[in-house]
Amino acid sequence: MIRLVLRRVGLAIPILVGVSVIVFLLMTVVPGSPEAGLVPEDATPEERAAIRDSLGLDDPLPLRYLAWVGNALQGDLGYSEQRRREVADLLGQAWGNTFVLALVSAVFGIALGLLLGYLAGTRRGKAVDRLVSVLSLGGLSVPSFFLAIILLAVFAGGLQLLPSGGADFDDPLSAARSLVLPVLSGSLITMAITARVTRAGIVDVLGADFVETLRAKGLSELEVRRHVLRNAISPVLTTSGVQIGALLGGSVLVETIFRWPGMGLLLYNAISARDLVVVQGATLVIALTFVVVNLLVDLLQAAIDPRVRGTMS
């Protein structure tokens, strides 16, 4: 198991490097000059060159990348002139908020999806099955920002039940109430995909020979179901990494609409203001979080499912 962990971590490192290279390139090769916001309109070419030089903008790309990664590794992601804050500071605060939102959404979406998928898979062709398939089709097809707007209209606008946005973290109850709508709108797609995968897995396993064997051995239906669920859960775990990624990425939309002070909102504001240092930092941190989450999911799966352990080593 320790060898497996080391191996998976070893495989993740080149991915992490690749991710950082792409984030760096995206924000470096953008059209328009990066110093535009820093240089006065009426600057002479010499002044302009001096500023470019001080920022290292004329160095060859690999050198600039190394400098950037070196700083990033020490926790220095640059300084946002527009926000007048260290990017790392801005991200540090936002990361926790996004993480809470994504985690609650993932747990909620996956748990609900498992339940629905299990019900549909064990009652194939019945009304429940059809209802779940309609629900998951809807969940796959509705954009989270559209759902968010509808939820806002109903619960915050019409019924006045829940806050429309923002969050007061000093009051846990209020924070929890603020979490409800973002979680609902973000996790619907997670629920839909999980339900589909679970249902397919259950149907698959129920058709397997070993289930007949279990029944023949005289196990109670409840015990049989337990075995079935355990065997059907592996594909759910496989997709759950991607799901959390979708939630992290989707946070940009959900947080924007609900003014949830996480990385997504930060990224949205930075994009609107063309504050590239913050865009770069936020993109990097979200992507890195995703890589780490996937790594953890892989390891968790290996711990649970011996078949996966076999193929990975």
């Binding site: 991915i15 995206l26 954009p143 707007i149 990425g249 979200i286 995703f290």
Partner: protein
């Protein structure tokens, strides 16, 4: 009527036998079969897939909706007299069913029907073009990697892994943010997001195909690797790629709408559905039904694409 076609099993014993009499009898049998065989249909995979798809009522209905939306968007000028960009300030915030404005008007008095129809052009293009482009590029990458193996495979597929390590929407937003707003840039961004998963599907399918004996047979005939890829491999991985890619069109539309919602799509006042939804948020309390129209159309198109894709998958899922 909806029974699946059973492949016609053709008789086994043509040309069996060791004596001349046997052989002549067999030759006669072949002649007879030649005549009879004119009535046996050749069962091409694509034709059979098409037939099975057409038997699936949900799939046909979904494909019909997509077609209808596409036609309506294409012929928008014939369906509405209004200009989607020009508003009548006096007609602001008309509700659904208002005279002259069946879908109401937006906050600037622009006719919603016109905006939805014209906007359909942008949304459908943003759903289709990146998927098709990514399918082409991803297929080339995946097939090349799996056929050349070695360093080429490692470099290409590890690069795909890195791109795949980004959450899809985040990568699209990052590319969109780097390139700036605009429909072309949205298309480029979504294409880049879709290339890695399609390349993976193509690579996996190619690895399954290249170990089959007909590839060795083609190699023995002296065909170049490019020719084998083109004539033997691609036709056999295409169904996997089409099934997978067809499921991406709806999501592509949603991602494009998300980018435009965030202000990274076609610059205003272009009637892109995602942007319309965002700009109408303020009118939610006055004309809520009008506000959700663009969202409804995104939803409808996406559902139609997903249903059509499911039907396509079922139609292709045969032992052929």
């Amino acid at each position: 009527m909806s029974q699946a076609t059973v492949p016609v099993l053709l008789p086994e014993a043509f040309g069996a036998g060791t004596t001349d009499a046997d052989r002549q009898a067999a030759a006669k049998l072949r002649e007879e079969w030649n005549a009879h065989d004119q009535s046996v249909r050749a069962q091409s995979f694509w034709k059979e897939t098409g037939k099975r798809f057409l038997r699936n009522r949900t799939g046909v209905a979904a494909a019909g909706i997509v077609l209808l939306l596409a036609l309506a968007a294409t012929f928008a000028p014939l369906l509405t007299p209004y200009d989607p960009l020009l508003g009548q300030p006096l007609d602001r915030l008309q509700n659904i069913g208002a005279p002259g404005h069946p879908l109401g008007t937006d906050e600037q008095g622009r006719d919603m029907l016109a905006r939805v129809l014209y906007g359909g052009r942008l949304s459908l293009v943003a759903g289709f073009v990146p998927t098709v482009a990514a399918a082409l590029i991803g297929t080339v990458i995946g097939v090349t990697a799996a056929m050349l193996r070695g360093v080429v495979q490692t470099v290409l597929m590890r690069f795909m892994d890195v791109l795949y390590a980004f959450p899809a929407i985040l990568l699209a937003i990052a590319v969109g943010a780097a390139l700036g707003p605009g429909l072309t840039n949205t298309i480029i961004a979504v294409t880049i997001v879709y290339i890695p998963p399609i390349a993976r599907v193509a690579e996996a399918a190619t690895r399954r195909v290249v170990v089959q004996e007909f590839i060795e047979a083609a190699t023995l005939s002296g065909a170049s690797r490019f020719r084998i890829a083109r004539t033997q491999v691609v036709p056999n991985v295409l169904n996997d790629i089409i099934v997978y890619a067809s499921g991406l069109v709806g999501v592509a539309m949603i991602i494009a709408a998300s980018l435009s919602f965030l202000g990274l799509g076609s610059p205003p006042p272009a009637p892109e559905w995602g942007y319309m939804l965002n700009s109408l948020r303020g009118t939610l309390s006055t004309t809520p039904l009008v506000t959700i129209i663009p969202g409804f159309f995104i939803f409808l198109t996406s559902v139609a694409f997903n249903l059509a894709s499911d039907a396509l998958r079922e139609a292709m899922d045969s032992r052929l």
